[in-house]
Subunit: 285 residues, 4 copies
């Protein structure tokens, strides 16, 4: 009994050992110390490897040969990622906030596929489980976090997001109209691929975005005439998002140069600078 | 007789009841009051639903099962849209101006397909009627009206419209020349898809806009050489509309920032602001 | 004899009748008078019609029915264009300069196809002649001349032409290398479309420009991997001409605004203005 | 013996004849003298010719007829390029630096294919050797060196390289996720081309970059819906590299105009100027 109490106390101490928490926090969440850097690089390596395992499993000829090894490494990765998730929860000063953040949810999802396989896991469900495990791929999104420059691109896109949404709505209206029109023109021909409006809208999107698979193509003169107009339209419309993003990038660029240091109040820092060049303080974007 | 006269008077009163008209006007045409907002959201929902019905009817396997329900809902939508159109005419201060405006015509066209079906409607004409009803899809254009930000994109495009028209004319000349040249090169080969100039022009547009379906492709060495040149040309030419739109967006952006408030005369408002930040007055774009 | 001399004198008078020459010059070369405008519109109409005739002749089913009418109208157009060319030579103050200018050569070429048909014209050569007549299509380039705004686009492209040429050279080197690499990877597979280096280079251009016909596609894993890299490369490289043209358009725009009136010396004219807003004098671009 | 010593001395003199070295250096490395210009033009001609020989050899029908001539010219080109490489090493003031520079390595690689053929050369290895010789194509990269304007494009790309790398990483994450998702949706259908994740990722790249071969296309409604979203996404994302490059080009342009002459210290030179317009000194970019 005293022994159990002893363990309980050790456990409680561990749970509230702020010094240890901070140590682990520095290693896991930050990357300024050598240990923190090593952990981040190892984590990225593990993420990439676990994705490669999923990819390799999907190739039938490989899976026939090295399938068992892939399955075992899958267990190892899941164990490691689960441990990492628990440690992040443990050492985070605000565990709830982390758990509900974007990367908190992604980290959790990255560990789930195998466990779901155990819960619902008879032999014939294995295939479904495997596809669930593919969600793991989203863990690669973490990679993005490690790069400083990505912020610029994200802010530029966020800044122009409202304009882009309106643009997309307009494009949706356009492709719906064009798809319907094309269905009216080509839909009555026997054996046509424009056999219903959703397929015609799919064709309109394939054409407007200049992807042009060629799996659905007009064959009547009128249909070809209309699709030529759609292409020339798409040619101009493709210029709109480019214009939006270019303009907001130039603006974001100016904002960065005009950024005031929160420590010494001076501006004029280089684009992409992380520290003030006058006082060395960290800049807040 | 007195009863009929009574009804006539009530009708006359209704027709000139400016207070009621204004009440309905606020609900239908504006969206600042809770009722007006509710009406707008319901209308958008109805428009989307009526389009989904048209789309669903075009899918043969769905139409076989739920066809009758789709037909009934079609009657409901047409009744609602007709009522809405009559009310808009009734409460509008300038009914003629509304009827001749872009949305007045679209609103009218949205109600017509079913009625046209009744006029010319024997069984074998039903198919034609159904395609006519597809015009209803254009009602979705109304959606665009409800969005504030769309103005910016429209003005940018209108501002650069003249340059874009000249550009399109130039592209038309180019694709006509290239299409004819390609017909001269590939048109004599038996079984070729370049069997006449319109098809060759269609190919030139498909290539220049980088859509590239692949339904018509060159097969002679000379034809491939020419089409490689056309692609590299299109690669550069695609930069022209982008440049035009980008330039006019930067300009429209500056114009917005320099916009003077019509109430207090101050400028420097944020891009996309709807109200003056100094006096709270509504800004006129 | 006196009669012939009389005709000769009349002819000589006509040839040196500067007043008549100027009258015709104003009609044919300028478009400020009502007659000049009418002539230009009629000429454009004739050019478009003559091109439509060539296009119609290429459609076999049409040619079988209205072929003779097309042939006759061909004679009419050739007569009209020959007359127009002779009149232009006659009334031009510097006939030699006109004859050697771009449009002088195009005007001459527009009249030639039928005459070449007469010179070399036995029945079996008719087909060749018809393709020669297709050169007529180039006459449509004249259309471009009539538009004021086109100047802006042309200047922007000319300004950035040197950069674009270097860019194209770089692209040529790239597609040659990539095409050869792809031939090494996919060329040994039996039945492949990468059967020689020119075809592989054609594939590289089709891919880099994002046209993507799909007539030649990689099928080995390594080939698909390489082509994925080529696509992502092309994705970035497509940004280069866009950037070049955008930058030179912004510059050309600034130049236009800063344009000095040659009459009163003031600047600040709107983009695209043809006349000075201070003194009304014509601006020289 | 005295004779051999005499040759040895002559050889030593030659190896240290700085005057001769400089003469050759001016011809081979520089292009300011008439001889230097002639050498450069001849070299470019030889490079293009040697590439054309490789291309011609890959066309089977040509190789059957003029194959022996192509093989002989191959010997001539290899001899010339070897001589050129040795001379460059000989006359270069820092031979080691040249040998390790980009063009030093390219020059060496350009001479190797034939020699490798001699070393490992029995009849049945000939085919492999021929593909090795294709490396020669990379010599064409030298062409790029001769153009002044290319610097601008390169600097613009280098300046924006960090942002482009982040963008590419983001695109890689996106196509991996989308490819996996698509494999989950379409991968179970019999006879599908989405038969493993690498192929699905290849499809995602083909679609996102708007290349759209059409060799792998979705066929289920859900698959088509997802790919429509991917296309619209790619439509916006293609705007990002364009925005990055445009912004850095405008910046590089400003930097060039603000460039200070190293001789007289004045700025304001035209974009692309190689010499100071005030003192005539060479500008350093």
């Amino acid at each position: 009994m005293a022994f159990l109490k002893h363990i309980w106390n050790r456990w409680q101490n561990l749970l509230h050992d702020e010094k240890l928490k901070h140590k682990i926090y520095v290693i896991i969440f930050e990357s300024d110390t050598p240990m923190g850097k090593l952990f981040d690089v190892a984590l990225i390596g593990f993420i990439v490897l676990s994705i490669l395992v999923v990819v390799a499993e999907s190739i039938k000829s490989w899976d026939a040969v090295i399938g068992p090894y892939l399955r075992v490494s899958e267990y190892v990765f899941t164990f490691f990622f689960t441990l990492e998730y628990v440690l992040r929860l443990y050492c985070s000063p605000k565990p709830r906030k982390y758990a509900l953040s974007f990367f908190g949810i992604v980290d959790l999802l990255a560990t789930l596929p195998l466990y779901i396989g155990w819960l619902f896991g008879t032999a014939r469900y294995l295939l479904v489980i495997r596809t669930f495990r593919l969600i793991r791929v989203f863990r690669i999104f973490k990679l993005f976090n490690y790069l400083n420059e990505g912020n610029f691109l994200l802010r530029s896109l966020v800044f122009s997001s409202r304009k882009i949404i309106v643009f997309f709505l307009f494009v949706l209206i356009l492709v719906t109209s064009i798809g319907t029109l094309m269905y009216m023109i080509e839909g009555q021909r026997p054996g046509t691929s424009f056999n219903n409006i959703p397929n015609s809208i799919y064709w309109a999107i394939v054409t407007m975005t200049t992807v042009g698979y060629g799996d659905i193509t007009p064959e009547t003169p009128l249909g070809r005439f209309l699709s030529a107009i759609v292409m020339l339209l798409g040619y101009t419309i493709i210029a709109v998002p480019t214009g939006i993003v270019s303009a907001s990038m130039i603006q974001e660029h100016r904002r960065r140069v005009a950024l005031k240091c929160p420590h010494c109040g001076k501006d004029g820092h280089e684009d992409g600078a992380a520290y003030c060049k006058y006082c060395g303080g960290k800049l807040v974007n």
